[in-house]
């Protein structure tokens, strides 16, 4: 029964436009009828008695139905109670007024004022309803300032502070966490709508939780908030719900970091423990981070074109508008060495992919990589690079892909990779590195809690797949296959 009510209730926002349309059209027709009595507007038609009655019947019926549907929606929805109460009484009044007009429309002197009252009530109810779904400042948020001053409406406060605060002074909740919640959560858990009784628009409300209990337990990653945002996107309980703008992976990391750090309200970022993964994200989001401002596109591409010609390498832009470039030195072959790599200095901050495979770059030359803070993909395959050279990769905090195939690195060299929080793919085929060392690195690179869960799932999935193996024709179950041999290339990949 409750489900049916909710189902019908959700048609309220659709149906309400029916009585609005009918009554406003009736008002227009009546005005036209009045005007038609004067000479210049004689061509306008006047509404006949029978038609008027019919239209009023329809309007009254539509209004009452809209009010009824609204009642059902209010019972099932999670809206701001104050706004709902106001809208509810206005809506009931408007419906009553529509019925009243129908009853009195044969009384000539009463009809006009009654219709006027009905329309005024209708507009007020509609506006109150609009406030619930779109927010209070929906109509005025883009109003020109002079007009706003004339009407006495304060210009809307700017949504966000002009620039991100300095990393030294930023407050973890106000400058890092609240903006994420504002972008992704407020629309359903905010002032105008509080699904599940939960509002997250202030620290106090967030801590208070919703009607199903507390969502943030400071210091505990078992918090409901963390659990729900961490679920796979196709799960019913996943937040934000499917179809809504989703949290980025970085947002997830930051939220977990903040909850894990005790969900403090006033503590500065600098006062909290900063894992390197969080440090990298904050560097990008807050001013004063190590990354700094991105280099300019025009200057970078111009320098890149000259370098490509001079060095016999390929440089392509990576995006339609950013300065980021993909540098491929492989075509230059052994002619490309440490000196040539050093010449990339003018475009270094913009290099996102760099392929040095099969060139003659050495350990010493890798020092030129230090300014390439945005490097994401790096090919060093077939170079005479040793563990000493890998130490030069320490500043590459954005590195996601590293190809060390056929180099002289060993297990010891991987130590430096522990400080690269974004590394997701590592290729060490044809080196002295052992699978154990890579597995250990892989475990450390991603959140331990997540990888543990992923491994659990993996075993479960393998079991299910085996259980389902059957012959396509006979339908007979097949024996579980022997475990596949270990892949030739040890790989470190996150889930």
């Amino acid at each position: 029964m409750h489900e049916t009510a909710a189902f019908l209730g959700h048609f309220h926002p659709v149906w309400v436009h029916m009585p609005i349309g009918i009554l406003i059209l009736l008002g227009v027709l009546e005005v036209a009828g009045l005007l038609s009595r004067s000479r210049p507007f004689r061509w306008l038609p006047a509404l006949g008695e029978g038609l008027r009655t019919l239209i009023l019947c329809l309007a009254a019926a539509a209004s009452v139905l809209a009010a009824a549907l609204g009642w059902l929606l209010a019972r099932s929805g999670d809206y701001d109670p104050a706004l709902v109460t106001r809208h509810q009484w206005l809506g009931i009044a408007a419906a009553a007024a529509a019925v009243l007009v129908l009853l009195v429309h044969r009384i000539g002197w009463l009809y006009g004022p009654a219709l006027g009252l009905s329309i005024v009530l209708l507009v007020m109810a509609a506006h109150a309803g609009g406030k619930i779904t779109h927010g209070s400042d929906f109509l005025t948020s883009h109003m020109p300032r002079p007009l706003g001053r004339m009407l006495g409406i304060a210009p809307p406060a700017p949504a966000r502070k002009p620039g991100p605060p300095d990393i030294e002074h930023a407050v973890a909740y106000a400058d890092v966490i609240q903006p994420i919640l504002q972008d992704r959560c407020y629309s359903c858990h905010g002032p105008s709508k509080s699904n599940g009784g939960l509002r997250v628009d202030t620290w106090d409300l967030l801590m208070k939780g919703g009607k199903h209990g507390v969502v943030v337990k400071p210091g505990s990653l078992a918090s409901e908030l963390v659990r729900r945002i961490d679920l796979p996107g196709d799960q019913k309980e996943h937040m934000p719900p499917r179809g809504k703008p989703q949290l980025a992976d970085d947002d997830l990391t930051l939220l977990e970091w903040w909850v894990g750090a005790g969900a403090p309200r006033d503590k500065a970022v600098a006062a909290l423990d900063l894992p390197s993964a969080v440090q990298v994200i904050l560097d990008g989001r807050l001013a004063g981070g190590a990354s700094g401002a991105p280099p300019g596109r025009e200057a970078t591409l111009e320098a890149a074109a000259q370098l490509a010609d001079r060095l016999g390498i390929l440089i392509r832009p990576m995006s339609p508008d950013g300065p980021w470039v993909d540098v491929n030195a492989r075509p230059a072959g052994k002619a490309f060495g440490d000196g040539e790599l050093a010449q990339l200095a003018p475009i270094a901050p913009a290099v996102q992919w760099l392929d040095l495979g099969n060139t003659s770059v050495t350990d010493a030359g890798l020092a030129s990589l230090a300014p390439m803070g945005h490097l994401e993909r790096l090919h060093l395959d077939l170079l005479q690079v040793t563990d000493g050279g890998l130490l030069r990769l320490r500043p590459l905090k954005h590195l996601e892909y590293l190809n060390l195939r056929g180099t002289r690195v060993t297990n010891g060299g991987l130590a430096v990779l522990y400080s690269l929080p974004r590394l997701r793919a590592l290729y060490v085929w044809q080196t002295a590195v052992t699978p154990d060392a890579v597995a250990a690195l892989g475990d450390s690179l991603v959140d331990r809690r997540r990888i543990a869960r992923w491994k659990g799932d993996q075993a479960e999935l393998a079991r299910m797949v085996d259980a389902e193996r059957f012959d396509g024709n006979t339908g007979e179950a097949l024996q579980p296959r022997a475990a596949a041999p270990a892949p030739a290339a040890p790989e470190a990949k996150s889930p």
Binding site: A305, D381, Q458, L461, V465
Partner: protein, 489 residues
């Protein structure tokens, strides 16, 4: 005064064009005008864009429209039309009604190739399917090696095309149109992005065949550049014996002599080019230069003796350069390592109108191991991240039997993609319960959609890769194509 010649007369002669010269020059001028429209100026945004005549071609797309993921394509082209029902599309319902009349509700009013006016009987698959890998994708037991790479590949079951006979269907798969003279996708990609090597063609084709029966010819127009400058066309290497004929110098000619000859020819061709402004002269100059470089790069490329035995065994290469699909796959990996943009390996032998069960078993045996080895080999080299692999044919085969085989079928077929940013371990799209027609579930994939998706992997918006020819803007996807965004990680 009687000079040997009168300078005025000479000038007059030069000015007074004959009718023939006039017509010839007019045609060349038209050519020049055509050249000026070769490049769409809207695409020329950044600095350092070469004209098509420059020695090095770095592509018309100076800036990607999306983040690029792939750098090269290896297209394992299963020519003849592999049966999706025996490979990647598991249909228990079809097995159940095996031998019974095929429901007319599926087939009425539909195009048939050789099954017209015959009694249509359902034909189930004789081969089992298994759930494979952690992803549990259903793959036929005919492909045991492909089953091992199930978690790396994305199977697309909802492919459909518009051409029901081999040659036009090949053209449709390659060029997005059965009309002759359209550029193939490899040519479009070269035109858009250029190549990463100066020593080899940017678009290389290799061919293998067998078993006997089920072989259809594949014409060279399938890798033609169409109306694009012919420097973008595919170059076929011989997969057996010498890969490129006459690549060595004759006795008494050394490379330095050869260099001088090429330079001189280029100089002479340059004169002709200045006079005629014909882009094809530039193509010729570039091809001579490339051929010279290939004199050293090709022997190095095809020298498989330096591949370790373990690698050769993994691919199942019995004898290097024996023309087998295995040998071609190994060469394909070497081409990819050297920066070739588009590599197409045709394997003829999938046209099983009869003897389906025996012949498809044999062709799978030839193709399966090398294919999986290629994926694994690229993966261990860290190259699968930026190499897009495409495995599939030009159409599928009917769920209705044709004697002991199956007929051509355009409403549904399967292929798979791997690498280049494609999400592995996933099945995309599906067909109805008899494998007759793709389902319109938002994951259906027309050939145009495949092309659009392939270009998107390179960061190219398929609506922006345009070439103006005969007054009309042409695209690989013509006026169609939608990118299957869900395929990408």
């Amino acid at each position: 005064m009687n000079l040997p010649f009168d300078p005025n007369l000479l000038r007059d002669q030069q000015l007074a064009w004959s009718r023939r010269t006039f017509l010839g020059k007019s045609a060349q001028a038209l050519g020049a005008m055509a050249l000026s429209t070769l490049i769409n100026p809207r695409l020329l945004g950044g600095a350092g864009v070469p004209a098509p005549g420059d020695g090095r071609w770095n592509g018309i797309i100076t800036s990607p429209q999306f983040p690029p993921r792939a750098k090269r394509v290896i297209h394992l082209y299963m020519a003849g039309g592999p049966s999706h029902l025996e490979t990647f599309d598991y249909k228990p319902e079809l097995n159940r009604i095996h031998g019974q009349p095929f429901p007319a509700s599926f087939t009425s009013g539909q195009q048939l190739a050789q099954l017209q006016n015959t009694k249509l009987l359902a034909r189930g698959s004789s081969f089992g399917f298994s759930r494979c890998g952690l992803s549990g994708q259903m793959i036929s037991d005919l492909l045991p090696y492909t089953q091992q790479i199930a978690d790396d590949i994305c199977i697309v079951r909802s492919m459909h095309t518009e051409q029901i006979n081999h040659d036009p269907a090949h053209a449709f798969m390659n060029a997005g149109s059965n009309v002759k003279g359209r550029p193939s996708m490899g040519s479009w990609l070269l035109y858009g992005l250029g190549t990463e090597t100066e020593n080899l063609p940017g678009f290389v084709v290799l061919m293998s065949r067998g078993p006997s029966g089920g072989e259809q010819p594949v014409s060279a127009r399938q890798w033609s550049a169409g109306f694009l400058p012919s420097r973008f066309q595919g170059v076929q290497f011989q997969s057996r014996g010498v890969p490129v004929h006459y690549v060595g110098n004759p006795d008494g000619v050394c490379q330095s002599t050869q260099r001088q000859v090429i330079d001189e020819i280029a100089r002479l061709n340059g004169f002709h080019e200045e006079e005629t402004l014909d882009p094809e002269v530039q193509t010729r100059i570039a091809q001579y230069e490339l051929a010279f470089k290939m004199q050293t790069s090709v022997p190095d490329l095809t020298d498989l003796s330096r591949e370790p035995t373990s690698i050769r065994d993994m691919y199942g290469v019995k004898e290097a350069g024996d023309g087998s699909f295995a040998s071609n796959c190994l060469i394909a990996r070497r081409l990819a390592e050297r920066g070739v943009r588009f590599i197409q390996l045709y394997h003829r032998g999938w046209d099983q109108h009869s003897n389906l069960d025996t012949d498809i078993r044999e062709v799978c045996r030839r193709v399966d191991q090398p294919t999986a080895a290629l994926v694994k080999d690229l993966k261990q080299r860290g190259m699968l991240d930026d190499t897009l692999i495409l495995w599939g044919g030009e159409f599928g085969r009917t769920p209705m039997g044709q004697g002991t085989g199956r007929d051509h079928h355009i409403n549904a077929f399967s292929l798979w993609m791997a690498g280049g940013g494609i999400r592995g371990g996933m099945t995309w799209g599906s067909t109805d319960e008899l494998g007759y027609r793709y389902l319109e579930d938002g994951q259906d994939m027309h050939v145009h959609d495949l092309h659009a998706t392939m270009l998107a992997a390179f960061g190219i918006d398929h609506e922006k890769l345009i070439y103006r020819f005969q007054g009309r803007d042409f695209r690989l996807t013509d006026v169609h194509g939608k990118v299957a965004k869900g395929l990408f990680t």
